[in-house]
């Protein structure tokens, strides 16, 4: 079932009077419970496509449809509201809030998503998710005391605590070693399945593609090929 659909997305940047096509008419749809990977060389436009899909910037032309909402027709506040309540984000650097404990990072996201859960239910939900990502013993730790892998697992827990419909992950394993990268990818895949999220992932690491359902290879702002890995 399609959760997010991108239709003929184009993005042009003007630099010193000359315009450059960063994205040249990309169309793709994200399915519930699937991890879709965008891969390609640096400058192929994969990260730009992810940020457009996430409503962080608007395309020059084309449509992004999220549950029948045309993202480009929405106000900045309406897009922010969708990001807060329906989307989750994992960045290359974990980007945890330095003055919040691991548990508080998750509670902040529930606040932001205007969760209707009560205080104790929120805490219980955070505890369950931290157990799922293997961080229950680090719930009162601050980001400065976490390892790179722990930070990224905390960031993933934060990104899904409010049960988003779409998860955007931009190079989530780039700052991790191979073993930790595999752990993080497995976690992302498991959560995508369990919570029935549509996940869009940007990675340049070929090994990590093993943990995805679909791979879209991008080259020079266009889709070079798409492989479905679903058995």
């Amino acid at each position: 079932m399609t959760t997010l659909e991108l239709k003929n997305i184009r993005k042009q940047f003007t630099n010193g009077g000359a315009s450059e096509d960063i994205l040249k008419g990309i169309s793709l749809s994200l399915q519930k419970g699937e991890v879709t990977a965008l891969t390609g060389t640096s400058g192929s436009g994969k990260s730009t496509l992810l940020t457009i899909a996430a409503g962080l910037q608007l395309p020059s032309s084309g449509d992004i449809l999220f549950e029948e909402n045309r993202m480009s027709a929405l106000s900045a506040e309406a897009r922010r509201n969708i990001r807060a309540t329906q989307f989750g984000f994992v960045f290359q650097s974990a980007h945890l809030v330095p003055f919040l404990t691991v548990e508080e990072q998750l509670l902040l996201m529930l606040d932001t998503a205007e969760s209707t859960l009560g205080k104790s239910e929120r805490t219980q939900k955070a505890a369950r998710l931290l157990q799922l990502v293997g961080l229950e013993h680090r719930r009162h730790a601050y980001p400065a005391s976490l390892s790179g892998g722990e930070k990224q697992r905390a960031a993933i827990a934060r990104a899904v605590i409010h049960e988003p419909k779409v998860l955007f992950a931009d190079e989530p394993t780039a700052s991790l070693d191979s073993s930790r990268s595999r752990d993080v990818m497995k976690l992302l895949l498991d959560l995508t399945r369990e919570l029935q999220i549509a996940t869009l992932l940007v990675t340049h690491d070929e090994e990590m593609l093993n943990y995805t359902d679909r791979v879209i290879h991008m080259s020079d702002g266009a889709m070079a090929r798409a492989n479905s890995l679903i058995q």
């Binding site: 910037q57 984000f89 996201m109 601050y142």
Partner: protein, 335 residues
């Protein structure tokens, strides 16, 4: 979740430094304000303690009470005169005073001929009730009949004397100032009307002194405003990347603004509370000789000004939050 409070709990040192600076500046401003008020009381406590009403000077006096002449028998109010001079105590020690005489009224204390009522500050100089004081211009002596509070003029204690003694000393039947307790100014032929504040401004020494102190307080308030703004700006500049990331995740600018307003309110509120306590303590401990007076109204007014300045300084940083680009923050974070 109160992000502002969480950050303050985690980064106590940083906020302690900002709070200390707010405390020092507000304490210094309160101190100078206390001195300004103290000097003002020392210079014109007599006038300030008078009831609200209208002051009248002769139009030809060009707003200088020393040049003004008023008929003593005016029925429109209390006619009074003030002249600087001195008295010799029983030990022959000279004391500078401001002689005041007035037509009988409830505005000033009544004095019998040959008596004098002195500001209480002279009691500390060893003068006692019943002492006989002399003056070179006076044929007789003045017996100290009592002391009164808060009666200073031009930094000198006021000596209330009977009109006959005044006329003997200064060789004039005229009075300088007419005071009426009417709240509305009345047009009197040949006289110029002044409110209490306007009349205080006609006293040159008072005007110059207060102008200087007001300038100092104003500059302190402006400088502290700039400092508040700069400190909050610097703190927020360091967090601009974090704001961008939080905005990318969907945290509203309103939540982030509430965060810095909370921090401003806690830092400024605590610092102001401490500086108010410290200044009130100083107010209690300061020696009587030091002209220092910090009223609750003045303290509250200055605190209010500081709070508004802090709010504006923090809000200025709100512009940065509004401008924080989620996309830029993510891209910068990835590099």
């Amino acid at each position: 979740m109160n992000l502002g409070w969480k950050e303050m709990k985690r980064n106590k040192g940083r906020f302690l430094i900002v709070g200390s600076i707010v405390f020092l500046i507000s304490f210094m401003t309160l101190m100078i304000s206390g001195l300004a008020n103290g000097l003002s009381k020392d210079n014109a406590g007599l006038i300030q303690a008078m009831p609200d009403g209208q002051f009248y000077l002769n139009e030809d006096a060009k707003e200088n009470y020393l040049l003004s002449t008023i008929d003593e028998g005016s029925e429109k109010g209390t006619a009074f005169s003030i002249q600087m001079g001195s008295l010799f105590d029983p030990n022959g020690k000279q004391q500078g005073v401001a002689f005041l005489t007035a037509s009988p009224s409830a505005v000033f204390p009544a004095v019998q001929k040959g008596d004098v009522l002195l500001d209480r500050s002279l009691a500390k100089e060893g003068i006692q009730i019943g002492d006989s004081l002399t003056n070179n211009g006076l044929s007789g002596t003045l017996r100290v009949a009592g002391f009164v509070d808060d009666s200073k003029f031009s930094h000198a204690p006021v000596a209330f004397i009977h009109s006959a003694d005044y006329e003997d000393m200064f060789q004039t039947n005229d009075r300088q100032i007419l005071f009426s307790m009417n709240s509305a100014a009345e047009q009197l032929d040949g006289l110029q009307t002044f409110s209490k504040n306007e009349f205080l401004q006609t006293i040159e020494s008072y005007k110059a002194e207060q102008l200087s102190l007001t300038m100092i307080i104003s500059f302190l308030v402006i400088i502290s405003g700039l400092l508040f703004g700069i400190f909050f700006y610097m703190m927020n500049m360091q967090k601009i990347g974090l704001y961008g990331i939080l905005k990318a995740m969907g945290v509203s600018s309103r939540t982030l603004l509430r965060m810095i307003w909370t921090q401003m309110a806690v830092v400024t509120g605590t610092a102001l509370l401490l500086s108010i306590l410290a200044s009130q303590l100083f107010n209690q401990l300061v020696p009587q000789e030091v002209p220092f007076h910090l009223s609750a109204a003045n303290t509250l007014w200055l605190s209010g000004v500081f709070f508004i300045i802090g709010f504006l300084g923090a809000s200025l940083s709100g512009v940065q939050i509004k401008k924080a680009e989620p996309l830029k923050a993510i891209q910068q974070g990835e590099n």
